[in-house]
């Protein structure tokens, strides 16, 4: 726990407070890594043998057709799979060397370190303020000034502060879809995570909000390690550093290709990727 705290990046992207010093990079280059990760729902294999290193401070995009286990893969990385019925994970997934699969780790601190954003914006049916307060209280941050300053910090980071600071006590569900999604990102950031998992964060939004959220995600790299599942190849091309293609083989998802963004789109290693990028498959 203590170590985790030390490793935690202390700053947030775009914070107003520019004097804050960025701590020296003490994180290893590989931040999250899976080895032969396999997930089954009952007898049905969702994906099999996925070995994927995720580098620190980069955006890794996961693309591929529907039903190839992309979202389930994300859920393995913060153990949200524990909530799914009949879900069995084997293989290995590590967060800076710490094994996540099948271990008795402290889920609360894991999820504090690894935040998650869902496809459909899901702010709690509470006020904007309570949405941000609740996770902080949960993680024993209860000092009023601390809460207040963190709230402002993350709302500024997601570009919501100017829009909502005057109505923090109105229900979060009255915000527009794009604002709700940015609030959800702020809610994840307020815990100062290291890794952010994003499960098609733009697909439920209109094009303009989608653009705003995409820009926001792009600004968050460097400070956070981001893993984003997306259906939108153009989006992956715009923001990702690495791209992983999942594909269905024998009824289960597997990793077809993993390479630098540029290589992925311009000189793909496998046929499948080339066809997928051209729009011929998937």
């Amino acid at each position: 726990m203590r170590n985790a705290k030390q490793r935690m990046p202390e700053t947030l992207a775009l914070q107003s407070n520019a004097e804050r010093r960025r701590p020296p990079r003490i994180l290893p280059r590989i931040h999250v890594e899976t080895r032969k990760l396999t997930l089954r729902y009952g007898p049905h294999v969702a994906f099999r043998d996925i070995t994927l290193p995720i580098r620190q401070g980069e955006i890794t995009a996961i693309v591929g057709p529907s039903g190839c286990g992309k979202s389930s893969f994300l859920a393995c990385l913060n153990r949200l799979t524990d909530l799914f019925t009949d879900c069995h994970v084997t293989g290995s997934a590590t967060l800076v060397g710490e094994e996540l699969v099948g271990t008795e780790i402290d889920l609360t601190s894991l999820r504090r370190r690894v935040g998650m954003i869902f496809q459909k914006p899901n702010p709690f049916p509470l006020t904007i303020r309570r949405n941000l307060e609740l996770p902080l209280r949960e993680h024993a941050v209860s000092d009023r000034h601390e809460v207040q300053s963190r709230m402002e910090e993350v709302l500024r980071a997601v570009g919501l502060w100017d829009e909502v600071h005057a109505r923090l006590d109105t229900p979060a569900l009255r915000l527009s879809g794009g604002q709700q999604q940015r609030l959800c990102i702020a809610r994840a950031l307020v815990l100062r995570p290291e890794v952010l998992l994003l499960d098609e964060p733009c697909s439920a939004l209109d094009p303009i909000s989608s653009g705003v959220v995409e820009d926001l995600i792009h600004r968050l790299r460097e400070t956070y390690t981001l893993v984003i599942v997306t259906h939108n190849l153009a989006q992956a091309r715009r923001i990702a550093d690495h791209v992983a293609l999942f594909w269905v083989k024998d009824g289960a998802g597997h990793l077809a290709e993993h390479s630098r963004c540029r290589d992925f789109f311009e000189s793909p290693k496998c046929e499948l990727t080339a066809a997928y990028v051209r729009g011929a498959r998937g």
Partner: protein, 280 residues
């Protein structure tokens, strides 16, 4: 064209049945209301029964009724809510046990009230030594209301979108605070509707109370006194007290009015809740 004649006939039959239902409902309600109306006044509501209930009012009976309902709900609601939380939130941990408990609750909901009366008499009155008392009656009713409370709480919990649970888990929130801060507030309207319906069911109950809470129509001094509810009072006046019909009618009117009030409250609450869910 034979088909269309059957069609016509069926429609006619439907109208007739519907008319019959309305007529019977009207008959019963007007009979009870019409005869009772002239006798219900403040003296009736605030007075004690005189001459075995032929004269006087129903105040101590109303008090006993409220006390019995109070005991019933104080016991049934916490246990019911707890059980509903276990069934809907922890259900996946022991699926066979969950199914078994659900099935047993379904059966429990169908057990005749007189059988609950027997059970209550044997357990609360005799084995636990509470005798014919408000406490025994309330506890017996709690057993009967439990399935209803559990079902409506579960309904309320089920109406909370799974996204909230995922979001809470992804933020590292503990189960307890997810439940306290998110699930229970969202499920409260459903719980309240269930509570109101449970009170209605308990208020209507007679058979289970005949030999658990007893017949005494005096002012109760504690919950270990015997006391009769409004419905037992109606039964006693009409069957065992010659010439008690007048006050029996009046008590029936009070009981039906209370139940209609409760019914309306529940449906109003359900409506408001539904509208709010659509809006958000």
């Amino acid at each position: 064209m034979r088909e269309s004649r059957t069609d016509r006939l069926l429609e006619l039959a439907c109208w007739c049945s519907a008319f019959m239902v309305l007529a019977i409902a009207g008959w019963i309600l007007f009979d009870v209301m019409g005869h009772g109306f002239r006798r219900v006044d403040l003296n009736f509501l605030l007075g004690s029964p005189i001459d075995a209930g032929r004269q006087g009012g129903i105040a101590p009976i109303l008090v006993s009724t409220v006390l019995i309902l109070g005991v019933c709900m104080t016991v049934a609601v916490p246990i019911g809510v707890g059980a509903a939380v276990a069934l809907s939130e922890y259900g996946s941990e022991g699926r066979r046990a969950t199914r078994l408990i659900r099935a047993s609750l379904d059966v429990l909901a169908g057990i005749p009230s007189i059988v609950f009366g027997l059970f209550g008499n044997a357990l609360f009155c005799r084995a636990l030594g509470m005798g014919f008392s408000i406490a025994s009656g309330g506890l017996t009713l709690a057993c009967m209301a439990l399935p209803l409370v559990i079902r409506s709480t579960e309904e309320g919990l089920r109406s909370v979108p799974v996204e909230y649970r995922h979001a809470a888990a992804a933020l590292g929130m503990s189960r307890t605070s997810t439940l306290v801060h998110l699930l229970l507030p969202a499920a409260t309207p459903g719980l309240l509707v269930g509570l109101v319906l449970g009170i209605g069911r308990a208020l209507a109950e007679t058979a289970a109370l005949l030999f658990t809470s007893g017949y005494v129509s005096r002012w109760p001094t504690s919950i270990f006194d015997s006391g009769r509810t409004l419905s037992v009072h109606i039964y006693d006046l009409s069957m065992n007290v010659p010439g008690g019909d007048g006050n029996s009618h009046a008590s029936a009117l009070v009981l039906v009015a209370l139940l209609i009030g409760i019914n309306l409250t529940a449906s109003l609450m359900a409506n408001v809740w539904l509208r709010r869910r659509i809006r958000t």
